[in-house]
Symmetry: C2
Subunit: 483 residues, 2 copies
Amino acid sequence: MKVSVPKGTRDFSPTEMVKRNFIFKTIREVFEKYGYQPIETPAMENIETLTGKYGDEGDKLIFRILNSGNFLSDFREEKILHDISNIDKIDASDTFARLDFNKPEQYLSRISEKALRYDLTVPFARYVVQHQNEITFPFKRYQIQPVWRADKPQKGRYREFYQCDADVIGSNSLLNEVEIVQMIDEVLTKLKINATIKINNRKILQGIADFFKITNFAEFVTILDKADKMGAKFVKEELAAKNILHHPEVEIFGTLFFESDQKELKSAVDKNKMNLLKVWNEKSESETGKTGIEEIEAVFNLVRTFKLQSSTFELDLTLARGLNYYTGAIFEVKANDVQIGSICGGGRYDDLTGIFGLPNVSGVGISFGIDRIFDVMNELNLFEKLNLSASATKVLLAHFGEAERNYCVGVAAQLRSAEINTEIYPDITKKISKQFDYANKKQIPFVIVIGGDEMKTGELALKNMASGEQTKIKVDSIISQLK
Amino acid sequence: MKVSVPKGTRDFSPTEMVKRNFIFKTIREVFEKYGYQPIETPAMENIETLTGKYGDEGDKLIFRILNSGNFLSDFREEKILHDISNIDKIDASDTFARLDFNKPEQYLSRISEKALRYDLTVPFARYVVQHQNEITFPFKRYQIQPVWRADKPQKGRYREFYQCDADVIGSNSLLNEVEIVQMIDEVLTKLKINATIKINNRKILQGIADFFKITNFAEFVTILDKADKMGAKFVKEELAAKNILHHPEVEIFGTLFFESDQKELKSAVDKNKMNLLKVWNEKSESETGKTGIEEIEAVFNLVRTFKLQSSTFELDLTLARGLNYYTGAIFEVKANDVQIGSICGGGRYDDLTGIFGLPNVSGVGISFGIDRIFDVMNELNLFEKLNLSASATKVLLAHFGEAERNYCVGVAAQLRSAEINTEIYPDITKKISKQFDYANKKQIPFVIVIGGDEMKTGELALKNMASGEQTKIKVDSIISQLK
């Protein structure tokens, strides 16, 4: 029998859990520091809740769940098996007509009505609409749960992975964008990751599209989104190939967008002079573009009133983000010292809940990618610097036999009632050296050995496993030393 | 469009999350206090890992996952759709033969190779076998994750629910059983639930079966397991109906098991006199029964060396537990003050990992049922007594307009750098009364109102929302007051 996990999924050992839990805890504490509250939604959603939200490519990656039990009985009830087996003897046309076999999607929806969530954003939108009467708006929620995607597994890409999302919904205020920048900076500072937080605004991109008289904005954004991975040349070629921009406009766009202006714009923003971008925008007479510039200015003005702890914050006009529901600010965060995709991303959406029947509620959110953050921290040896303890156990009680082991029960009770995490080596047949091996492998920092003398005097030998130092002291002193 | 979650699943609001997280945290801290370390396994397992482990009834309740994407293309590739649509024109017998439509299980295993985990025990056994070379034995692990069962949803029974498991594997020592009793007592004491921890031993039940010359032990246990729910009369009738015990033995069994002896045995155990049970056992000359009695005695002797904090610990001979893999001690825990099923259960298994190719490794474990514990605590108003804060936010900064709101950014930065969870009301168009409403609904304990005066003097009005008291102080003093 094959003993393994499905491809693209992983077990997490205690050592890995300590590191992952540190990341989760850091993110959770920062989210709570800014007033975000936790919610959880079910792993499975009704299939209609998910399909049609992630584009055709995304839809294909949704894991569907079979209607349990019923699937086989449906098969039997529908007489499919019987009819197919007897195809030469009976007229089965009724059965086949009823099955809608020429529309596989319909058949599929009959045997599978649920699916595993693909992200936390769509379930959140569903949650907001479903619970709108119980919610206090603006609703600041965070959610840390796994999601599932039937993607081709590869390095750093899994079929089950955690997302850590924070969203505020029901507020237009750009202060939310500013606080998102602060939260990202605070999380990454605590994790000791040097990062660049990039911001752009979909409305500015719309202004640029208006300037070039581009009508298919969604496709324009999709192509722009590839700039980071594929380069400027690819983007220009794609824009031309897809008939979005022709020569010579595409050349002008390329120069303007990727070369001269980009740098000038960055410094323009840094200097609180958006003149260049404004001039450009005025040419296009784009109202949306104008609003986008104002929004970016407002965010930068507020961010400038405090100092980010360790991150760089910059405008990146080439930032586009793949998802269609973004309508305002968009964010992406890169680690400075490791070559890896973005470790956090998000943006503002003006109508995410509209698909579920609650239109015109604006929100903005971000999502931390825990797996990439883990990889970055591993590669930079940051976990070592954080001095995380692999074991929550503080003391192991080792012993020479049954009477000694039973004596340990009382000692352990005293230590534990002082909230000191304590283990008694359970078996009485193992040599002391084996018990020390156990403490070493589990990285337990202290060992107390109980023998006949200790039982008589109550003076216990406490060994510091790191220094090798050994002292004879009473339980009370051990407690005050280890607390 | 239907906005709902699949039946048997639930959303958890921030208010519910605070309560649930308190339970999780309590359980986790106690597990760690006794040296258990966290692991996590994937939500989905290969189907072979799960099937055949939970009995026929259990197997039917496993949620299967469709091979994503491939399912439809399989359909097309197999020409099913084409062939069925053209059934009157072509000979499709090949296609149907290949599909094995007369063996639905085979067809099912071709379109679905993964399933959602049904419990945490089987994935744990798989984990131990798969990672046996990295593990330090005895391996004390805990695992807090959701499981999924396609059970008929009803009050207190869900299709997605969390289990909180602790198991130690690779140790025969009965100290593990003793520490499990301690852990249950400590968790429930911290949650303020008065409970009775019931213990029995499968070997004692085997001794009883030997005494009555019962050969089908598994079925005997399955029927006994229903005593609690269905009563003694039902058990006796079932034993007779299923040909396990005939008259007059079944009457003798009933009297012995449910009436006189049961009470005497309890007090016998309490008095450290197992004479009655021993006499009974000697009559059967059952070696297994004898070992069972010794094990129970050893556990009670050790438990008697300390005082349980709040729970009652007792032998319950009618305790059987449904699962077949138990071979020694079995546990079940009932809340004393609420009529509800068991809130925690477990036991010792001598060969759980054998099914995955690692035989003869003994382990013992327990599982807390978080949902029932939540229900018990709700019914007894225990959450109120625990004084849990619904909001992690300590202070809301309210304001009269944009300049004031922007001034808040600096104040918030100071409070947050002192690790005080702070919110700024984001929107600048809402009246102060609306902002106070927000604080009230979110149960934020303090509000600071920023107006023109405050910006000039730095003397901020701090309002205690519970007492209504308001004081004018500087940020520094607020920090020292709220920390």
